[in-house]
Amino acid sequence: MVFLTRRATFSASHFYWNENWTTERNQQVFGRCANRNGHGHNYTLEVTVAGDPDPVTGFVVDLKWLKDVIEHEVLAVYDHRHLNLEVPEFAESKLIPTTENIAIAAWQRIEPAIRAKGGARLTCVRIYETAEIFAEFRGGA
């Protein structure tokens, strides 16, 4: 089995805010990230799939196809958007767009397409918020 990882980047703005908390509590927990005017990051997304290379083509999965899936399912929705205001899974305070939650949301966006295609399975979605911080989701609870 070979693990194949594809990288992509997108830029988006967000802020952290829990509607059930007071302003003071939000500022205490989230600090600068609680600025309601938002701020932005250049995110790097890494998508890892695993499988046995096809005996004829030598591919685990067609990289161009995987690139297109990432672009359609994630970049087209997240890139140059305000995550809290414009992305359905985070809008109307449904979910705070932390790096952790973005990793889970990106997994949920990509996984059905990979499962439907068959041959390889999604094993990891990693999101870098900055060069120093990343969150990784490997499926499951």
């Binding site: 070979v2 693990f3 004829v56 083509t57 591919f59």
Partner: protein
């Protein structure tokens, strides 16, 4: 790092099927990459040296077995790819096979080959 050329072409497929499967990677004249190879070795820390493995020795093994073999070559012409297409998946498995029994100490955990800054492949031997 090693720089090599390859052409993705499966003899079992028709020209049209090869084009559909590999796109521009099927160019008959080939193309090249600067591959970055990462080798991860696991093992106990030696009580006397404080090392899992001597890095200079490891460097030499990787250079002799993998880099010298593939650097500035056409991968399609290497006998190791006589019966397989030199995709980076297969290069990764080939490098693992060449290194598996040659570790100066510790166990080879995985070989990772980065084809471009946007994709990499990892093989853990099973």
């Amino acid at each position: 790092m090693l720089s090599a050329s390859h052409r993705l072409h499966a003899d079992l497929l028709s020209p049209e099927e090869n084009q559909a499967a590999y796109g521009k990677c099927n160019n008959p004249h080939g193309h090249g990459h600067n591959y970055v190879v990462e080798v991860l070795v696991g093992g106990p820390v030696d009580a006397e040296t404080g090392m899992v493995v001597n890095l200079a020795t490891l460097d030499e093994v990787v250079r002799k077995r993998v880099v010298d073999r593939f650097d500035h070559t056409n991968l399609n012409l290497d006998p190791i790819f006589a019966n397989s297409v030199p995709t980076t998946e297969n290069l990764c498995r080939a490098a693992f096979g060449l290194l598996k029994d040659a570790m100066p100490a510790g166990e080879l955990e995985y070989v990772r080959v980065e084809e471009t800054e946007n994709n990499y492949f990892e093989y853990r031997g099973e």
